[in-house]
């Protein structure tokens, strides 16, 4: 009883807020605008500590960038719901947008403004702009090389893993031979095979494809296999009473029933393939983001390194998101059976 009476006033306040004139505003957007504006002012008006005789390039541009973000946030904040669907997409990210400005400000102060972090190893955020503007061609090429290599290796490995997993999940005699090999060789990190495969393969590129495929193959195989092996026997019987062939049972019963597990394997394989990709590019392939990192290190171009790392993070997390989207599409039937 007492709880419900307590709950009543708070309910009223929220409904009043929602109905009132303020409700149209996006508050986090307005707060964000203030914080990003403050960041811009900090960058613009607090003079940089000089390193030797040179100043950090693109300081003004960085300030302008912060002002621009502030302006957009202010506009969206005032428009609020009237700027849907943009606001409603951004709304969950509100706290992060604010936090990001604060992090940028701290980074800025620790590097450019006070030089608390030593210079060649730590660079202020505006140097990322500098790298992107002045070295975009090389970065873009590296990214392209990495993506092609990753795509070829990952797709080959995933397809091979899927086929192996289904085959050994289905055929006992095949499982007898493949299982021990899988057990013995599977846990060896692909990167450990790097020197060997550079020696065996005609080019370092094909060696890298092989290693990425291998790193993807193992988790995809294991999880597809366990998925197929774990399919409810009754599903097969249902299809068999209707006269289903072996092929039908594999294609229309085993595979769809195992698919949730297959996707777990695909996620693990994707993670593994990233690290093999970068290591292979650092060690032998003379292109790609991994190579860019070693190149930047050789020239002590630390800001280039940060830029490449940022790019890598963005692209790799984008790929993971892409795989999530694909899974959500393919396994939409699972939505009601699991906590998604």
């Amino acid at each position: 009883m007492s709880e419900s009476t307590l709950a009543v006033p708070s309910l009223q306040t929220t409904s009043r807020l929602n109905d009132g004139p303020l409700s149209a505003l996006w508050r986090a957007g307005i707060v964000g605008a203030v914080v990003w504006f403050a960041l811009g002012a900090l960058v613009q008006f607090w003079p940089n500590e000089m390193v030797g005789f040179s100043d950090w390039a693109y300081t003004q541009e960085f300030a302008v960038f912060a002002y621009a973000v502030a302006a957009v946030l202010l506009l969206l904040g005032i428009l609020g719901r009237r700027a849907d669907p943009v606001t409603s997409t951004l709304r969950p990210a509100g706290p992060w947008i604010i936090a990001l400005a604060i992090l940028f400000a701290i980074w800025q102060v620790l590097t450019a403004k006070l030089l608390i972090l030593p210079t060649p190893f730590f660079a202020p955020p505006q140097t990322l702009i500098e790298v992107l503007v002045e070295d975009w061609r090389r970065l873009g090429e590296s990214l392209g090389h990495s993506l092609v290599l990753l795509a070829v290796g990952y797709l080959v490995g995933a397809a091979a893993g899927f086929l192996t997993g289904v085959s050994i999940g289905w055929s006992r005699s095949l499982g007898y031979w493949v299982h021990p090999v899988l057990r013995f060789l599977g846990p060896v990190p692909s990167t450990a095979l790097l020197p060997l495969s550079f020696f065996f393969f005609p080019s370092s590129w094909s060696a890298a494809v092989f290693l990425i495929a291998l790193a993807t193959w193992f988790p995809v195989t294991v999880l597809t296999w366990s998925g197929v092996a774990g399919v409810n026997r009754n599903y097969y019987d249902v299809a068999r009473t209707m006269g289903a062939s072996q092929w039908f049972l594999v294609r229309h019963v085993a595979v769809p029933a195992a698919l949730p597990q297959v996707f777990v394997g695909l996620f693990m394989g994707l993670g593994a393939s990233f690290s093999v990709l970068v290591v292979a590019e650092m060690m032998g392939v003379k292109a790609g983001l991994g190579w860019y990192l070693t190149w930047a290190q050789g020239w002590a171009a630390y800001s280039n390194m940060y830029a490449a790392l940022f790019l890598m993070a963005a692209v790799f997390s984008g790929l993971i998101t892409l795989l999530f989207t694909v899974r959500d599409r393919v396994l939409s039937w699972q939505k009601g059976t699991l906590k998604w």
Partner: protein
Amino acid sequence: MVAVARRTDAERGARIDIRNVSHTFALETGPLPVLNQIDLRVEPGEFVALLGPSGCGKSTLLRLLAGLESASAGELLQDGRVVTSPDPSRILMFQDPTLFPWRTVWDNVALGLQVRRQLAAQRSRVDDALKRVGLTDFARAYPHQLSGGMAQRVALARALVNDPEVLMLDEPLGRLDSLTRIAMQSELVDLWRKTGFTALLVTHDVEEALFMADRVIVLSGRPARIEAELINDAPYPRQRGSARLAELRHQALDLLGLDAHW
């Protein structure tokens, strides 16, 4: 009139001969005899109920007849031909609905036609089967969105779409609440009378067996033997609680009461 209608339709059902069938499972702990010299003939279009204690081997007998497993001894025949492998003319409706969770209701029902590559030409048969079990509105739903009774009805539609000559029902109503159960008993009998397939129903429930079947076979505990046979000549449509059914029920319980395992 009713009897006449049935006799003409009965041409679609198949005759079943179960000849001296015994079955033993080889377990690690040793052999487990499950069926003991079962001898049974089911006429085309007949409705036979199998009644017996849990674990006696009723599901096993249906699996043998479906062709999912082969009997240790004896033979099973459909219209005089020995059953060696599953065939869509003999459809088994399992104890659980076992719908494929990744398929919609419609696609689940379409399974048999898809297996035989007839789906493209005969999509309307799926719609008809769904209509017969009253689930047209749920064609696009997924199995997890159905109630237990609805899932059983989908399983029934999935069986019916094959137009079987023999329909084997393994406790199809075992998990339903009593109201849904009574309703579905009548629905099943109606369907059988309209369609004319040969029906074999496994059940635990004496009333259900007597209400639905022409003939009730009483099985012993494991290994199952045929203990007794009750002919129910009450005409369809039957009245629940009719004097004739009550009398038969007495008889059945008497028979079962003689068995210490029951």
